[in-house]
Amino acid sequence: MMTPHDRLGIAPDATPAQVKAAYHAKLKEFPAHSHPEEFKAVRAAYESIRKGEADRDGDFLKMRPIEAAIAPELIQTLKLNAIAQLDLTLEDLIRETF
């Protein structure tokens, strides 16, 4: 199995500067317009190495609450939407009935 570091042709302990230089060299070799598949693989490797670096920098301490994505405004909007839909159904109901 090819690791992200293998993909960029660098050692597992490469410095961030070396990672970036290797990434740029690979971009030159595989431009997005002529080698889209290789480009995507290079990019994915670069992103995964950088993500690893960020984690080492202590990003993992920033715990995120699991429900963070569901914001209170969203719940409010959903409620309003639901109510609006009810109103509409009532009107339809009246129209249907008479």
Binding site: P31, R43, A69
Partner: protein, 579 residues
Amino acid sequence: MSRAIGIDLGTTNSEVAIVENGKARVLPGENGDLILPSCVGLSEAGKLLVGRDALRQYAAAPERTIKSIKRWMGTDHKTTLGDRTYLPHEISAIILRSLKQRAENALNEPVTQAVITVPAYFTDAQRQATKTAGEIAGLEVLQIINEPTAAALAYDLRSEDTERVLVYDLGGGTFDVSVVEITGEVTEVLASHGNNRLGGDDFDRALQLHLKRRFQQEHKIDLPDDPVINARLLSAAEQAKIELSTHSFTTVREAFLATKGKTALHLDFELARTDFESLIQPLLDETLAAIDRALSDAELSAEDLDRVILVGGSTRIPLIQQLIESHLGQAPTDGIEPDLCVALGASLQAGVLTGAAIDAILVDVIPHSLGIAVAMDTPMGVMPGLFSVIVPRNSVIPASRSEVYSTFADNQDTVEVEVFQGENAIAQENVPLGSFHVENLPPKPAGTLQIEVHFDFDLNGILTVTATEKGQGQKQSLIVNDNRIDRLSAHELRQAQANLNQLFELDETIEVSAETTTIDFSPELIQLIEQATAKLETLEGESAEELQSLLDQIAAAPSDESIDLEVLQSELEDFLYYA
């Protein structure tokens, strides 16, 4: 291989550029003008006008003149010109065709391939419409690239050190901000944000309304809601806006706008830069908020920026420069050509794609998130119709991403995959791109059947969505294009190209016949025309346009019986007397 051009197809102005010996340059028109106003019209005699000639007649003949068509790209908004209606991409095709011709004349060789720029924040539909416009104009569109990215490409840094640059691009109709990292020849976009309906046009319109209010305050009557008066006010507003970029005060003068009893009413007052600034401040505050979002998406703060570049004609407004400087804590970089750098960058990318000796590597991002509608567990119970993002905004393109979803009900035998583009957590609030079903799923309890949804987004903005049931491998896929303006079939494309050719040829034949008709004028009128032509040399801006349009109408009179020459003659007399 013939050379490919780069085109900046702007809301107000367009340019075309080419790379020669590794250097990009903007190609001039016959009169030496580097800029082609993005304006299309028909003269009184039915002659096709593109660029400055069309713009010149706008205040006098708004019903025969189309400005700012870019604002409608990707919609089915119809515009009437002469005896037929046009879709936005058909009008854009006329402008592109004109730029192609300009390039062919300047280079003395046929031109068939182009890179065209669009605002970074353009949606998929707007990009497809732009590509179609290029094809109708007879161009193979090699790539659609983002305007701020093109500007960054043109910005020659030549340094191996990484620089982080913020590109603030405020044009006639659209606003973009991109955060870009440049290292040697690699230009990598970290994040983009924008507004497809914010630009100089909005400032003109705010000022136009202000002029109407001032007129009302002074004369105690409302200006009639007449297309010609509105067009004159809009042109006056634009002129005043431009003046106020270099002067603290300007005078707005428009004669004979209305009558009260027997008195003709004019607009004539002084406008201060501060008046204009207070009108546009709320719009500019929005752009500052967009800067903050782009920075936060790029995980950078203002101090991390090495440079700020201003692109687009509207960035000449001094208030914009002040606001950005105080917001980001550094002054924008000088020495960038805000009108030309986008076309220059597009030509560089065109050079790269056709194998010219240019070292430029571009890594760009997708401006809007892509995903599907799903049911999710929320504190209010299971909610259907929520937006699950598969390719987040600012992902590098081309991009391939997958997510695995499971069934919602026991023995569910069908799933519908509805694809959306946008940032709202409620799927329906985003832009629908299409939908499809995966059918005949094996009966399984809810939540146990797994479906992998794979998104593949290529450099041309084409999205392929594939849904695969993981157990037995049923597969269904969809290639997403815009469903309002489908891409043209080969036949439709040929038809559209033929129509366009006809329009351009018609133009040439009529031009010839118009030349021979001026002899019917009376000696008095000929003298007046001579005076007016001399006067035209000394006039600028609005009044020059007004006079030119009078002259145009007179010139068109012999071939159009509906024109009353006597009325025009007395108008011309009045004008010369007044001026």
